[in-house]
Amino acid sequence: MPMIEFKNVSKWYDRFQVLTNCTTKVEKGEVVVVCGPSGSGKSTLIKCVNGLEPFQSGELVVNGESVGAKETNLSQLRSKIGMVFQHFELFPHMTVTENLNLAQVNVLGRSVDEATAKSMMLLKRVGMEDHAPKFPGQLSGGQQQRVAIARGLAMDPIAMLFDEPTSALDPEMINEVLDVMVKLAQEGMTMMVVSHEMGFARKVAHRVIFMDRGEIVEDATKDDFFGKPRSERAVQFLSKILHH
């Protein structure tokens, strides 16, 4: 059973269709990179996985649960899926540790001590343990994003979603975040990553999904996608972003 499975998922904003019959899947332990021009619906697609974006038709099954179904407990499902945002979205009024502890304590019911131990362990893993008592505003973008990854991991997620995790970062900070993500991928985490970082895709992705105008145009293994893209649109896109 795939970890995440899209079956003909479509979504409209009023009459404007943003997703058209999207069908794909992510297996356990698989790293899938979603790319495509801006406005192609890749962020929307990934936000459907944990129900942050509702969709109107089709089916989306995550860990055996149908996301769109009324009987699905969305909060509970979300707590099992980590998400990292483009603009970090750390809670600015809480320290780094409090950011990591919040959902552990209030959603998973861990004790504060238990949560703090877990948080410190994860902060160490992303190289942020020295910054635990600081507030997000005192950190650089790259540091904030590493904390955000640790916050997602603190919930012991079955999969991690990344929505353009490096596109709001200054160039010199991109690598520190990508390094953390590469390590995570190599440890076998199931990941769905919206990104233009083709170097990252080449290194750790198993599959690449290329989207354009709300459609999944290409869904191929990494080697096929980079070696012999089938669609004209993917060829054009690759030539544009790999040009320099």
């Binding site: 909060s75 509970q76 707590s79 809670f91 600015p92 009024h93």
Partner: protein, 230 residues
């Protein structure tokens, strides 16, 4: 020029003015502020809800309260609250609420409409992504509100909330229409008794000015201290 005046009357009545009057005014202000902010925040949340069952009544309430003069509301509630209270507990006679509790309820309900608009702006000032981040962690609506949105909204809006409270502090003087001994009421009583209207009303104005002005001065300083680092 002040030879015809007797400023001693102020000194003589200080204990009465402050022990009776100012205590009432400050207690009323504090309770109406606390109640008004809590109820106002709930109103703001209801108003921002996408469910008509919540947002329509909340909007109606806020707009109604903001369109009626406070004096009228004070009058109406003073006479209505005993009847409504009696009706709620099923008593046949209106219940005895008393001037103090009647004013607390009136001011809470009236000021809540204003606090609600402030909190609504505060909630809307929080980036949508913060809510998404809360939800993505598995927090439910109340947890996202309570841990993520409201603490930030409250902090952003604290100066405005306090400014509204200064207005509330001045507005409480309107309870004198119910012959209640608030600070102004106490001064008025002395003024009538001793025929020292100018002295007493001057003194009252100075006291209101000093308190309100120092509070707004404090708010300005607080504003700089509590800003969230982004």
């Amino acid at each position: 020029m002040f030879s015809g005046f007797d400023f001693d009357v102020i000194e003589r009545s200080l204990p009465y003015l402050f022990k009776e009057g100012m205590t009432f005014t400050l207690t009323l202000t504090a309770m109406a502020m606390a109640g008004g902010i809590v109820f106002g925040t709930l109103l703001a949340m209801a108003r921002l809800s996408s469910i008509p069952m919540f947002n329509v009544p909340a909007a109606t309430y806020v707009n109604l309260m903001r369109s009626v003069p406070l004096v009228l509301v004070i009058f109406w509630f003073y006479f209505l609250v005993p009847w409504i209270g009696g009706w709620i507990i099923g008593a046949r006679e209106p219940i005895q609420v008393g001037a103090f509790w009647s004013s607390v309820i009136t001011f809470t309900l009236f000021e809540a409409a204003y606090y609600a608009e402030i909190m609504r702006a505060g909630i809307q000032s929080i980036p949508r992504g913060q809510v998404s981040a809360g939800q993505a962690l598995g927090l439910n609506y109340w947890q996202t509100m309570g841990f993520v949105v409201l603490p930030q909204a409250f902090r952003n809006m604290l100066p405005v909330l306090l400014t509204q409270t200064i207005i509330l502090f001045q507005d409480t003087s309107l309870v004198y229409v119910l012959s209640i001994t608030d600070f102004l009421g106490a001064a008025a009583k002395i003024a009538q008794r001793d025929g020292r209207l100018v002295e007493m009303y001057l003194f009252v104005a100075v006291v209101y000015f000093i308190i309100s002005f120092s509070l707004s001065y404090g708010v300005k300083h607080l504003q700089q201290r509590i800003a969230i680092i982004r």
